[in-house]
């Protein structure tokens, strides 16, 4: 597995150890890119900061909370316009964003007073919300504001409120991953075990590392509820502050994004003996296997199997319609962290696409191990790429589509490569059986969009076929398909609704009686 040196990064020789090509017959012990290190000076990274990782990835998806940044208002930029972790309480955490509005004078004279004023003002402005998280930022961390002391003061004066302080300023790690770590550890140390929950089922889980992107959590909760499993808390998408204080009472931690949330699972295992089961909500087979394993753990595997059978029968013909049209399309799988390994194999197996490259912005070497193990030979794996490397890879590999964030995604468009938003999705949710078909539909639409076909023409030099009629996506995708596939009576395009999530919020579920226990 040779290291790969980008032409554009020859002037930064340290970069060579951050990229490898998966060679034939080689395994992870031959070469592994470095990871989770400080970005090398001269390399313009696509990473976020540790504050962003703590607040904007993990903290803010909690729904019933005032999330306050102790810093300038600019630190609160990421909200409804960039983040899509929705919630079933009218998206309170996305609609409102709070900062202590630190100015130059506060840097000189201290910002604790203004912080306290803002905490009280925010609680008064939203009297129904009694919970708050406060995030330290670079400036206030450097001047040494004691945020914990201020929070304690307020909690003494307002006993009905509870406040969590996260001390993860932007510089507290090489990337957003440092912030994931800090908030995981802070939450278990400060808050877990401070509320006793009501247990309503014999089967109780924490759903961890799930952020309800466009409704992912609600789709998965639907399956768990149909199995009669009580989800005590979700860490953290659509999650409730007080439910997350009661994580210690679950029987099982079900973990999705190990990159951002394995820390709290590991600590819960050590401290409370709660097992960690890594699961996957993406893809028919991995999802089915995950539901089955949860069922096995609790001895209710027949309930899981009933869901698997029903959902597969409903959605598989639609997935296969897209698979026929996506076969052999080249994909660069360039997400932030966990989708690198969640998707690397299953998009190849269930959608027929070829993953020609994987990268991670903030993943650790463990993520690369999983991603490289799962992708096919010949794939280029890159850690913490810079923009020029991304461009060079696209010029060389000529992908049909890339899955990445919106910043590198917009760069890809400039060289006429369509992109799908791997973090916030285009038309998600992507988890669940229906969600996986929605993802396939988005890939199909990205690759075969007639607009993208036109974008490949350069009006300054190419001949424009003015005489040809406009082509639809289906005309383009079906050009080389067999008649049997084109006129199949079993395969069909996505038939779900525009909004696949809202109806779940009013759905009723069968009651599974709790077993009588003799004391």
């Amino acid at each position: 597995m040779p290291y790969h040196e980008f032409e554009c990064s020859k002037c930064i020789p340290e970069r060579k150890q951050h990229a490898v090509i998966k060679g034939p017959g080689e395994d992870l012990t031959h070469a592994l890119p470095l990871g989770h290190l400080n970005t090398i000076p001269g390399s313009i990274s696509e990473r976020g900061c540790a504050y962003c990782g703590a607040k904007h990835v993990i903290g803010t998806p909690m729904k019933d909370v005032i999330h306050l940044s102790h810093g300038p208002t600019g630190c609160t930029y990421d909200t409804w316009q960039t983040k899509r972790y929705i919630s079933d309480n009218d998206n309170f955490q996305l609609k409102y964003t709070f900062a202590s509005d630190v100015k130059e004078k506060h840097i000189v004279f201290g910002a604790e007073k203004v912080l306290k004023q803002n905490i009280i003002e925010a609680f008064k402005a939203f009297p129904d919300i009694k919970r708050m998280t406060i995030y330290q930022t670079c400036a206030t961390a450097l001047i040494g504001d004691d945020v914990d002391a201020i929070a304690e003061e307020v909690m003494e004066e307002m006993p009905e409120v509870d406040i969590f302080v996260c001390n993860s300023p932007g510089f507290a790690g090489p990337s957003q991953s440092g912030g994931h770590h800090k908030i995981n550890i802070a939450w278990i140390k400060k808050k877990v075990g401070t509320v006793e929950p009501k247990i309503t089922s014999d089967y109780v889980i924490n759903y961890v590392g799930e952020y309800n992107i466009q409704g992912d959590q609600e789709v998965m909760l639907d399956y768990f509820k149909r199995m009669g499993v009580q989800v005590l808390s979700t860490f953290t998408g659509n999650g409730s502050y007080d439910e997350l204080r009661a994580m210690h009472r679950a029987h099982l931690n079900v973990l999705e994004c190990a990159r951002s949330a394995e820390y709290i699972c590991n600590e819960l295992k050590v401290k409370y003996g709660i097992p960690r089961l890594d699961i996957e909500g993406f893809g028919f087979e991995p999802l089915s296997s995950s539901l089955r394993k949860i069922g096995l753990f609790f001895g209710i595997e027949e309930r899981a199997q009933a869901i698997i059978d029903e959902e597969t029968a409903r959605w598989k013909p639609e997935l296969d319609w897209y698979k026929e049209r996506l076969k052999r399309k080249k994909v660069c799988l360039w997400p932030g962290g966990s989708k690198l390994w969640h998707w690397a194999h299953v998009i190849h197996e269930e959608m027929g696409v070829e993953v020609v490259s994987v990268y991670t912005k903030f993943g650790h070497q463990g993520d690369m191990e999983k991603g490289i193990a799962r992708c096919e030979e010949g794939a280029l794996a890159v850690d913490d790429p810079n923009e020029l490397e991304g461009l060079e890879a696209m010029m060389t590999l000529k992908p049909d589509v890339i899955f990445t964030g919106k910043r590198p995604g917009e760069v890809a468009k400039k060289i006429r490569v369509p992109y799908l938003n791997a973090h916030a999705y285009h038309n998600g949710p992507y988890k669940g059986y229906e969600g996986w078909v929605r993802f396939a539909r988005d890939i199909y639409n990205a690759i075969y969009s007639p607009i993208h076909q036109l974008a490949h023409l350069d009006i300054s030099k190419d001949e424009i076929p003015a005489g040809a009629g406009f082509q639809t996506a289906k005309m383009l995708s079906d050009l080389n398909l067999s008649e049997e596939v084109v006129s199949s009576s079993t395969l069909r395009q996505y038939t779900g609704k525009y909004d696949s999530v809202s109806s779940l919020r009013t759905k009723t579920y069968p009651e599974f009686k709790k077993k009588e226990r003799s004391e």
Partner: protein, 115 residues
């Protein structure tokens, strides 16, 4: 010998592509995971009793059962092996998984003393 090596490679490929339990973040975690899940998988393949006393045992067992179902449906040759051959094969597999994920791993984070 070559046949055994080839079969271990097939099972390894299945684990690497379909499972996540072998990639916990620290060497000691990986050791525990590999030991428990592959031991229970071997017991299940050999129709031997499996310990299910604790929640941790049940969790390992769920992963192990899922694993052997995958093995059985993908590798039909497994059905023709005797119990002794299965044990020998699974021991070889365990050594290989330990090597790829622990002893031969280039992941510098594995020996970090804290999570």
């Amino acid at each position: 010998m070559e046949e055994k090596k080839e079969r271990i490679a097939q099972l390894e490929d299945y684990i690497m592509k379909k499972c996540l339990w072998q990639f916990h973040s620290r060497a000691w975690d990986r050791k525990t995971q590999n030991e428990n899940i592959l031991l229970k998988a071997t017991q299940l393949l050999c129709d031997e009793p499996v310990e299910l006393e604790t929640p941790l045992d049940r969790c390992y067992w769920a992963d192990a059962l899922s694993l052997i179902e995958g093995f059985r449906s993908n590798y039909k040759w497994l059905a023709a092996l005797s119990k002794e051959e299965i044990k020998e094969l699974m021991q070889g597999l365990k050594e290989r998984i330990d090597f790829v994920t622990i002893t031969g791993s280039l992941n510098a984070e594995l020996t970090d003393p804290r999570y």
